[in-house]
Symmetry: C2
């Protein structure tokens, strides 16, 4: 049953259009709540591809796959990424061959996705078309579009000279720059970084449908994804930031009580000189991009932060414990967006 | 302990050099017996690559892998091909995606080999170098060299117009020509064929080391491999037939009592107009290529066949039941080769 639109009041036949910029695990959990809160909405998800990496000659898109598997019912729910009922024979064998890298675990079922994706990419299809094909199986209930068909990879600048040997694997020939995944997964972000760079973003174009989905949306949502390495690279694709800034945008804080709910966003924020607080992240996005900011109740003081002038802050329980609690967060985001869009 | 050489009597320090042209399952079983019979010999295996096929964007080399897995201890011994302790998650997932082809079963452990091979090939390494790298893990105890680094694929000409749609998958644009694997595995060789063509062989060159291994060998052995689609393509690579013909060659019949011991060699022989008898296969190879021919005791009449003039025929029990019985066959091949080389 279609809901009436709170923005234009166009009646029962109006289908709310929501566009979401998404990273991986946090975004996927939020999206599950959003789909529950707005089952009749047309939801378009612009997925971060800057975490993508080529492993064993296969193109791996962790964030796109996490969204696809989560909404398609194939996710390993406990860990939030990877496939349920997974086996690990391929990885064991590659390790037995001494194949590198040995620090990135891929399950067999997951490998199938990467094999098929790589085959389709090699046949000349752009990533957006390949993602559509993969989603034909998973039917995630949203339209999932990679932010760009061009190759963008977040690289991390580290100071340790003894890490220089790892640079070869990135293939860019730049000293002390390693792929984000190597820093994140292999080094657990424990090696101090001086910069986080979405390599290729400046020369990239949004994938077909991205700008249209933003322009046509009633509002745009940012899930509690990593602002630096998930939302940041999406906004770094030329054209996307401006398109988003022209819309009503409500973002959900991934920082609660001065710490990331999950992951190591604090290390990323520190690297770019942003405090790990809900208020600092909102100020980092800026009032020119976001109009509304959902924070946890323990961060409600952000509402009075002068640095957040022009951003409507709402405090509510923000831990995504399960689908109902997450749907409540998503509904609050919808409500605030509709209120701000009036 | 090195054996003395029966050919040149060069003494205890002489290491017998044997070069073997090899297909898949039959050759691998024979080789296991040969290694047992001649543990100190330097054995070089020239592997057929005309069965190779690109599946899901990955290069699959069934014959090379069967030799490698069998001699390296990783084979599924019961079926004679594929990996022991195999799992099938990747294939299940590809099927769930609707990926084609669905008729070729690859296990997860096997997939790892194809993933690594494809990655190394894509990096610019020739197949011979890639095969060496893979063998560093398996240590098969022989030197395994693909017959060529150039792409050669056996295609089968079929008459059925309704099979024309499958031609697209071969990528060659020729009507009614399908990849050998499609005919063999998908159609079980049940669709009549009018020709079996090693596409690309005429333009190919032997891989580095192939001609040297033949020239330096004390003798050359043909295992009981399929004479049409296993040994045939190897001999079709320019230069190999002449190099082999210049040596003492002993071949082992894969036909016993008018039927192939394993596989569908009879269909292949019929296609090229050769009777499915041990004598007819020897005549097909011809006295200009083979000097000795081992047949099963039930085929001992071949010794008196005038078509086999110039070929020394020896009859013995030829079923490869286990390693000892196969080692006895291999020893008989060695003995005959040494006798003929004197």
């Amino acid at each position: 049953m279609a809901r009436s639109c709170g923005v234009c009041a166009s009646g029962d036949n109006y289908r709310m259009r929501i566009t979401v910029l998404a990273g991986g695990v946090g975004a996927s959990r939020f999206l599950r709540g959003l789909v529950a809160a707005a089952p009749d909405a047309k939801i378009t998800v612009i997925g971060n591809t800057a975490d993508d990496i080529t492993l064993f000659g296969l193109r791996v898109c962790p964030d796109l796959d996490t969204v696809m598997y989560t909404l398609g019912g194939g996710i390993n729910a406990d860990q939030g990424w990877g496939r349920a009922d997974e086996t690990f024979s391929v990885g064991e064998e590659l390790a037995a061959y001494g194949a590198e890298p040995s620090w990135f675990t891929l399950g067999d079922r997951d490998f199938a996705t990467h094999i098929l994706r790589s085959q389709l990419l090699a046949s000349g299809q752009p990533l957006s078309a390949v993602t559509r094909t993969l989603c034909e199986r998973w039917r995630p209930g949203v339209e999932l579009i990679p932010m760009s068909d061009d190759k963008i990879e977040t690289h991390v600048k580290i100071k340790n000279a003894d890490m220089e040997r790892t640079v070869g694997s990135t293939g860019d020939g730049q000293a002390d720059l390693i792929h984000f995944q190597e820093w994140w997964v292999r080094l657990h972000a424990a090696v101090p970084a001086s910069a986080i760079i979405p390599v290729g973003a400046a020369e990239a174009a949004p994938a077909p449908g991205v700008l249209e989905a933003i322009a046509e949306a009633d509002f745009v949502l940012f899930p509690p994804s990593n602002p630096v390495v998930s939302i940041g690279p999406i906004l770094a694709v030329p054209g996307i930031r401006d398109a988003v800034a022209a819309k009503t945008v409500v973002a959900v804080s991934g920082i609660i009580g001065g710490a990331p709910v999950r992951g190591m966003a604090d290390v990323c924020l520190t690297t770019i000189g942003v405090e790990t607080t809900a208020a600092a992240v909102a100020a980092h996005y800026g009032a020119e991009v976001i109009n509304g900011w959902l924070v946890d109740e323990q961060d409600k003081a952000a509402a009075d932060d002068p640095a957040l002038a022009g951003i409507a802050v709402r405090a509510l329980p923000l831990y995504m414990r399960d689908v109902p609690s997450t749907a409540a967060i998503a509904q609050a985001a919808i409500d605030l967006a509709q209120e701000l869009a009036r």
